[in-house]
């Protein structure tokens, strides 16, 4: 069996008395795109936030390239390998679009300003927003901000990209511009975990759909199987509810 890029074993997380993750096992191969779907409160966001250690977990292991991650020691290194895109963009409001992209490569990777800006220019072209590079985030629309946020994460040249409901805070007419950027990224071979409510996106782009409910992975399947013929009653119910809309 080929070496997995990321493997998660027996991940458990509690928020006080609330048991958010009840033993998650998940493997991710290089170039694979996983869409995590499920009702709110099912632990989807907690799962991907645990992967790059934005939230502590109480039990379980995360391996990157077969190496066990020590939450106390490897955090900064791990995060350099994993890009994250948030629901609320979280662009740095006091920095221009260009500075949002160059800060981490210069401060963390030690790139020169010229190198960082050259790289940022390529990425901004890729997300089709280069003409806004000298503006501050508050001048951009939500869709534009989220595309900048994707470019900012890519500027660190990550091995894996995590998306935490990237289109949930967007006006409907801006969703597709962000999804298109994500589709391009998936086609280019990026390894991605996407928490999303966009079933169309999951169906079109995902290699595998992971359905979570109550802190567990209830079902994993190819999008074709999952959407056409879900096995678990919870998946069936979820799909019937969401597809009625």
């Amino acid at each position: 069996m080929s070496e997995k890029l990321l493997s998660i074993r027996g991940l458990q997380k509690h928020y006080g008395a609330f048991h958010v993750l009840r033993g998650i096992d998940l493997e991710l191969g290089a170039g694979e795109v996983i869409c995590v779907v499920g009702p709110s409160g099912s632990g989807k966001s907690s799962l991907i936030r645990s992967i790059n250690q934005l939230e502590p977990y109480q039990a379980g292991e995360i391996h990157l390239y077969g190496k066990l991650i020590d939450p106390a020691r490897d955090v900064d290194r791990l995060r350099q390998e994993i890009g994250m895109v948030f629901q609320s963009f979280n662009l740095f409001p006091h920095l221009t679009v260009m500075e949002n992209l160059t800060l981490a490569p210069m401060q963390v990777r030690g790139l020169s300003q010229a190198e960082a800006e050259a790289r940022a220019t390529d990425l901004l072209k890729r997300v089709n927003i280069l003409e806004q590079k000298d503006k501050y985030p508050s001048k951009l629309s939500g869709g534009q901000q989220q595309r900048v946020a994707i470019a900012r994460a890519l500027a660190m040249d990550p091995k894996i990209m995590l998306f935490d409901e990237p289109t949930s805070a967007l006006d409907p007419e801006m969703i597709s511009e962000v999804l298109n950027v994500m589709k391009d990224l998936a086609r280019s071979g990026m390894t991605m975990i996407v928490v999303t409510h966009e079933m169309g996106f999951a169906r079109e782009v995902a290699d595998r759909v992971v359905f979570m409910d109550g802190g567990r992975i209830v079902e994993q399947a190819t999008p074709d199987e999952f959407f056409r013929d879900p096995k678990h009653p919870r998946s069936k119910l979820f799909l019937s509810q969401i597809l009625q809309r």
Binding site: D76, I82, H94, E99, L103, M106, Y136, S138
Partner: protein, 255 residues
Amino acid sequence: MKFLPKSRLFQGIAFLAASFLGFALLSFVVGKLLVFMPEPIGSRSSLFVEGAKITLLITLYSAVFGLIVGVLLGLARGSPRPWLRLPALIYIWLIRGTPVLVQILFVFYALPELVPQLQLDEFWAAAIALGLNVGAYNAEVIRAGIQAVPPGQSEAARSLGLSNVKTLRWIVLPQAIRIVVPPLVNNVVALLKDSSLASTIGLLELSLAGQRISSETFLPVPVLTTVALLYLTYTTAITLVTWMLERAMRLKAHV
């Protein structure tokens, strides 16, 4: 200074230099104007000017000292580590719970008894006491400013691999500064006025100069009015400078 855009750093320094120059100019003009005032002010203008100079200097020194104390304490106060948070908490509790006048008297009279090396003259005793005092108030302002930066900002920075210190330096503090400048300047205005308490240890600043002239001439009304107007001039100038600074910072990133 690898990342900070040179132009912005330059603008900051230029603004600071211009403010200092403005204050020096203001003091110069005020000094010249006082000479032309009727008796008993005009003939004693040099004493007013000397007092005002001491008041401004002591405000400057204690403000800078208080800012350093405030930043360090504010960071410690908001730290998750109890061995940093607890001492900061106790310090702030002590300083804010006792009168600044007692603190000035303590540094000047009591400290040398406890630690003979700390025999300070009136100026430095007052500057240090005032700096320690305003530092405690600044700490609360700075902690609140840091907490006002949305947690998503730190998360985004940390998710890019920035260390805690770099996140603070490049993401949290630059945003907190915009929030804390107005209340910090309020503290400086309060400091300028509180510096009059240094007269109790015999420092010849503006209010003590006023008291002396007043009792010498038996003309408290014009003398103390002049003193009050001088304080008002300086506090107004500080407020104006901040107003400009706030505007400049807001125009850059927001609106």
